[in-house]
């Protein structure tokens, strides 16, 4: 039983039943005449509630007049259009009706209960790819400008000194305002300062050793890569609110697809046109 209750199609049918039931009851007592538009208490309450739901307050008289006007206008045109058979195979009507149907299935997601911790954990375990962190790098860098005198020798000399454990020379600290120390930075952040080439080679550098020079838009860099944090899955506890949002979003998507697939089963799809590529045709065969 529990499984049946969770089935989107059941929700869908239930909702459909309620909607049609409402209209059935609403129209039961009304003697429909083709050229009259009747706004009885039921109809009026319906329009009023629609308005109140939207604006969260009572309408004033002007506003009541406005929504009645709007309803009548719509109804008149609607009836005329039906009489003229304008709805038949009209692309706009089709689109609006299918949108309306989709909107109904979207509303189903509002019926989803907030997930329990277990459900959330199961979702997290099943979709770990969604919660993967990109790799992060911790490194030091020392910058040399391309037009410095005796550039190659200077770089070599500084590199040797750094590898002996000497400090970064004072005139190269925060050179061009670029920090020497970069801690746990992701590729996108590194790209913003150093450009794509530097960012792309960083991953393949040997660790715990001054190496280089590596070029960037600023000049040549010596780099000491001290830590690479590989792409890892974020901790459940740390990102729980985010997982909740994700759960909601993914469930919604899933449910929309499920409703569509279930409805599709009711129809036999026949692609008789010989202009449709055969691979695409095949994909519609069950």
């Amino acid at each position: 039983m529990k499984n049946i209750l969770k089935e989107p199609l059941v929700h869908f049918l239930l909702l459909g039943f309620l909607i049609f039931g409402y209209y059935y009851l609403k129209n039961k007592d009304t003697k429909l005449e083709d050229n009259s538009i009747i706004i009885d208490n039921t109809e009026y309450d319906y329009l009023l509630n629609l308005w109140k739901n939207q604006w969260q307050r009572e309408p004033n008289e002007q506003e009541i007049k406005a929504f009645l006007d709007q309803y009548l206008r719509q109804e008149v045109f609607y009836k005329e259009a039906l009489a003229m058979n304008l709805d038949h195979n009209d692309i706009i009507v089709k689109r609006r009706l299918s949108q309306k149907m989709e909107a109904v299935s979207n509303d189903l997601s509002a019926m989803i209960q907030p997930p329990t911790d277990e459900e959330l954990k199961a979702f997290y375990n099943k979709n770990k790819d969604l919660f993967k962190l990109p790799p992060a790098y911790t490194f030091h860098q020392v910058l040399f400008l391309n037009d410095e005198n005796n550039l190659d020798n200077t770089i070599k000399e500084v590199k040797d000194n750094l590898n002996k454990g000497l400090e970064i020379p004072k005139d190269r600290k925060t050179k061009l305002s670029i920090p020497n120390v970069w801690t746990s930075k992701e590729a996108t952040d590194i790209y913003k300062t150093f450009g794509d080439y530097f960012t792309s080679v960083l991953d393949s550098l040997p660790q715990k050793k001054w190496v280089g020079p590596i070029p960037s838009g600023f000049g040549q860099h010596l780099v000491y890569l001290s830590k690479k944090e590989l792409s890892q899955i974020a901790n459940f506890k740390d990102i729980k609110p985010y997982i909740e949002k994700e759960y909601q979003y993914q469930t919604e998507l899933e449910m929309q697809n499920k409703v569509f697939e279930d409805l599709m089963k009711k129809y036999q799809i026949k692609l008789t046109s010989d202009k449709i590529p055969s691979d695409i045709k095949k994909s519609y065969q069950n």
Binding site: K170, T188, K208
Partner: protein, 620 residues
């Protein structure tokens, strides 16, 4: 989408985890420190740098919640815009698009005037959703139809004295959309990592003179509803409303934009009530208005060659064809340099400068594409009007200018101690901000006494800058001729720098004057007489590649004004010029061999940065 989710996860994690500094190699003291920051009851560890960092962001951006953008085909919401700013892929005009470099901060500034209509347009089931006008706005399949719809329901309604098309549901609808914008701004705030600022645009254009202002709020103490030009079309009415907000504890300022389209009305002699500018007007204006948008997609408002013939860099993204529309003919009064100089003259006359502005840059994109400023990544800013290279090369932007005269827009850099809403807002409010024409050039500017001609490190220079003087955006208060310390570093993915200039404006015997000084030039080209030897750093017109050899990545100078006079009202601002790069039309032509822009379209440009002024205000 997946990328975006990943990004969110990273952000969440980086907010929650305390990063430990490990000094494994050559340890050294760090000037930055970690501080606690609280927003909405949640505590964050954020990096604080007392010497300040330049944070780049967008302060002028429209989404589908701006009705003109909606009609032109934009369906991206404020939330989508913030995602784009953080690096997520979105669909722009039906094609996936990503920003080249994510931003540090951003503000959505939808037009307040039509927020209510936008709410109806975007929310099925709302009253008016199915009205004829709303439907035709939603279903316009092409540009011509969209323009017809825009004219019929917006322009004609305005001309007929109706501020709104007939499906407008009143102020509750305005509040509903404003609330949605607020929610998107809150949802996307990641203190320390990505800042969002609550904002909107007040879009007054009396007789088509552009007097638009973007309005920015410091925190979540916000009005129920923005004040639009429908409620008051004169800036004074906007300030009156801002005064009421201030009385409620709301912290707010505004930035005017497009003085180039202002028909002389942004820097006026008389207020809109025809009364001359007086001390009260000047004080109020200075109190609420803090920065000018120097450049955006509809042109650079600094100067134009016809009024500044001696400025060799004036011919830059002037959007000259805007003069063909709405009678927005160029006059000297429309440009930022005039406004600043008139401002110091007002200070001489009234004792207060009404035009005491720092600089910001923005896009004014109506595609929800935050700071999509890179020339090689431009896909237009106005929905169906300029979505393809062909459209950009031959269409006009209806009622404004030729598309090819538009540009990807500018960027704002803010010097701030941390990437938080308060710090970024304060940075702009203090005018410690700078504009760029797109590149991420950083520029610092100080006026003080006793600066060294050079420093052994960047940090020493910045410390001295603050210790012995004031940064951009302030008054120099010393009693002798100041040292101006100026420094700039190139965009890491752009070419090297050409030069740094200081532009001075002053009043002499009641006469307004301005002058440009070259204060630093790359490759030792600055001569003793102040002129600069030209540099040849051509762009490869076949590939669009810029020259990588010429110029310097960093320029710095300490400069003294040879004609300094402490008793003269004056301002000094900085312009940093980059070596040439390809304009977007060059990339369009390279990628689309069938597309040919008219010959008068410049293929290469010299992008630039403008640092906010420092003022000399003699006491009477």
């Amino acid at each position: 989408m997946k990328q975006f989710l990943l990004l969110c996860a990273i952000i969440l994690i980086s907010c929650n985890q305390k990063k430990e500094e490990k000094h494994e190699a050559n340890p050294e003291p760090q000037t930055t420190s970690e501080g606690q920051y609280t927003h909405n009851g949640i505590s964050y560890n954020i990096i604080e740098d007392p010497l300040k960092e330049a944070y780049f962001g967008e302060q002028h951006l429209h989404t589908a919640a701006s009705m003109d953008a909606f009609i032109a085909g934009t369906r991206l919401t404020p939330a989508d815009a913030y995602r784009f700013a953080q690096g997520a892929e979105v669909m722009i005009n039906g094609k996936p698009h990503t920003i080249n470099r994510p931003l540090d901060w951003a503000a959505v500034t939808d037009h307040a005037e039509f927020l209510g209509e936008a709410y109806t347009l975007m929310n099925p089931g709302t009253p008016g959703y199915d009205s004829e006008a709303a439907k035709s706005m939603r279903e316009a399949p092409d540009l011509v139809t969209a323009l017809t719809v825009y004219k019929k329901y917006v322009l004609d309604a305005l001309a007929g004295g109706n501020a709104h098309p007939d499906f407008w549901q009143g102020y509750e609808a305005v509040k509903s959309q404003w609330k949605k914008n607020i929610e998107a701004t809150e949802d996307n705030y990641k203190p320390g990592k990505f800042t969002t600022i609550h904002a909107y645009e007040w879009s007054s254009a009396p007789n088509t003179a552009n007097l638009h202002r973007n309005v920015f709020f410091r925190d979540t103490n916000l009005p129920d509803m923005p004040f639009s030009a429908n409620e008051g079309a004169s800036p004074q009415e906007l300030w009156d409303w801002m005064k009421i907000q201030e009385a409620n504890g709301v912290k707010v300022f505004c930035n005017p934009h497009n003085s180039n389209e202002s028909k002389g009305m942004l820097f006026p002699e008389v207020a809109m009530n025809n009364k001359p500018i007086d001390e009260t007007y000047a004080k109020t204006r200075q109190h609420f208005e803090r920065n000018l948008e120097m450049m955006q997609t509809k042109g650079n408002s600094e100067v134009v060659p016809q009024f500044w013939p001696n400025d060799e860099f004036a011919d830059f993204e002037n959007a000259v064809s805007l003069q063909k529309y709405n009678g927005r003919v160029f006059e000297k009064h429309n440009f930022v340099r005039y406004g600043l100089t008139r401002g110091v003259k007002y200070h001489e006359e009234l004792g207060v400068n009404p035009f005491k502005y720092g600089f910001v840059g923005g896009t004014d994109s109506h595609n929800a594409a935050m700071s999509n400023v890179e020339e090689f990544n431009y896909v237009g800013h106005h929905g169906m009007a300029d979505q393809t290279a062909l459209d950009r090369s031959r269409n006009e932007q209806d009622g404004e200018m030729y598309n090819r005269d538009m540009n990807p827009g500018g960027l704002t850099g803010v010097w701030a101690t941390s990437n938080t809403r308060e710090a970024i807002w304060d940075g702009m409010h203090n005018r410690e901000s700078f504009a760029t024409s797109g590149p991420r050039i950083k520029v610092r500017f100080f006026a003080g006494n006793g600066y060294s001609p050079s420093y052994s490190s960047y940090e020493d220079m910045v410390k001295d800058g603050y210790a012995k003087g004031v940064p951009m955006g302030q008054n120099y208060e010393g009693s002798e001729s100041p040292d101006f310390l100026v420094w700039a570093v190139k965009d890491p993915i752009g070419p090297n720098l050409d030069r740094i200039q200081i532009i001075k404006g002053w009043v002499e015997n009641g006469e307004m004057k301005d002058k440009i000084y070259n204060v630093a030039a790359s490759d030792d080209r600055l001569k003793a007489d102040g002129t600069v030897t030209p540099i040849d750093a051509p762009v490869n017109l076949k590939t669009g590649e810029f020259n990588r050899e010429k110029g310097d990545p960093e320029l710095m100078a300490v400069w003294k004004d040879p004609e300094f006079n402490l008793s003269q009202n004056a301002y000094y601002y900085v312009r940093v010029i980059q070596l040439p790069t390809g304009r977007y039309n060059l990339f369009d032509e390279i990628r689309n061999p069938d597309v040919k822009y008219p010959d008068d379209t410049q293929k290469t440009i010299q992008e630039r940065a403008w640092a906010s002024p420092i003022w000399i205000e003699p006491k009477k």
